[in-house]
């Protein structure tokens, strides 16, 4: 009877609930953003069949080699558009980086920078 009682009471035991927390955060990357560009301004010279001689003469007077790299008006347009596309891509990538930093870095991390 005693054995039976002990056997029955042990069978239906209530188990202790265990909750595990094993979250381990990765170390933060926190790289500095690249330094913004500081560019030099270019000087464009327009040469036509009418002013070519005058342009080269002026270059010589200024002590500059009388040689020019040329673009047609169409190629100049393409160059301008290519630069605008590169600029847009740069802006998007830069802003994307900002968004990631804002999302993943805490306020404290941002203040530390």
């Amino acid at each position: 009877m005693l054995i039976l009682t002990i056997f029955l009471t042990s069978c239906s035991g209530v188990k202790t609930l265990e909750i595990f927390k094993t979250e381990v955060e990765r170390e933060k990357l926190n790289l500095d953003k690249p330094t913004p560009l500081e560019l030099e301004n270019l000087r464009w010279i327009i040469i036509t069949s009418n002013n070519a001689e005058e342009v080269f003469k002026k270059l010589e007077e200024q002590g500059i080699d009388p040689v020019l790299w040329g673009l047609t008006d169409k190629d100049f347009e393409l160059l301008a558009k290519n630069f605008a596309r590169i600029r847009n891509q740069l802006k998007i990538t830069n802003d994307l980086l900002d968004q990631y930093k804002e999302y993943y870095e805490t306020e404290t991390d941002k203040k530390d920078k």
């Binding site: 913004p36 009418n50 002013n51």
Partner: protein, 156 residues
């Protein structure tokens, strides 16, 4: 004979009393565990609710970031379209214009080139100047990339 029966009955009674005692102790122990479980469950529910709230906040933040990026792509696309218009508006031929008004087109080209250079600096993360920030008129803006250079300019 009666003696044996008596001992047997006492044995049964003792077993019943001990068994009852053990059972009550087991019940008390189970009760304590259940109480502890209930506390843990309540705590887990609170933590889950906090997690859900945080997830909702994160989701809102992701939506806002996506919206911001889409807006940026859209305004940059407009800048590119405006550049195309400057070259080709009303069948404009920049080449012919440059032949006819060489000096002024050269001046305009150099001005635009300097502005475009500044646009690249801004795109790479250069901070805006006060002048750029405060520009609200067409004459004050960087016409090559007003969307990123002049945040307070509203096209009119």
């Amino acid at each position: 004979m009666f003696g044996s029966i008596r001992i047997f009955m006492i044995g049964i009674m003792a077993t019943a009393v001990i068994g009852g005692g053990v059972y009550v102790m087991k019940l008390r122990s189970d009760n304590a565990i259940l109480k502890a479980n209930a506390i843990k469950m309540e705590s887990a529910i609170t933590e889950q609710q906090e997690l859900i709230t945080k997830q909702k906040e994160d989701f809102q933040e992701i939506l806002a970031a996506n919206k911001k990026m889409n807006q940026l792509v859209s305004v940059l696309k407009k800048d590119l379209e405006d550049l195309d218009k400057r070259f080709n508006k009303k069948n404009r031929d920049v080449g012919k214009l440059a032949i006819a008004k060489t000096k002024s087109i050269e001046r305009i080209t150099n001005g635009a080139s300097a502005l475009a250079t500044r646009c690249i600096e801004i795109a790479s993360g250069s901070p805006l100047t006060e002048k750029e920030k405060n520009a609200t008129k067409k004459s004050e803006i960087n016409s090559e990339c007003p969307s990123i250079a002049n945040p307070n300019y509203i096209p009119y």
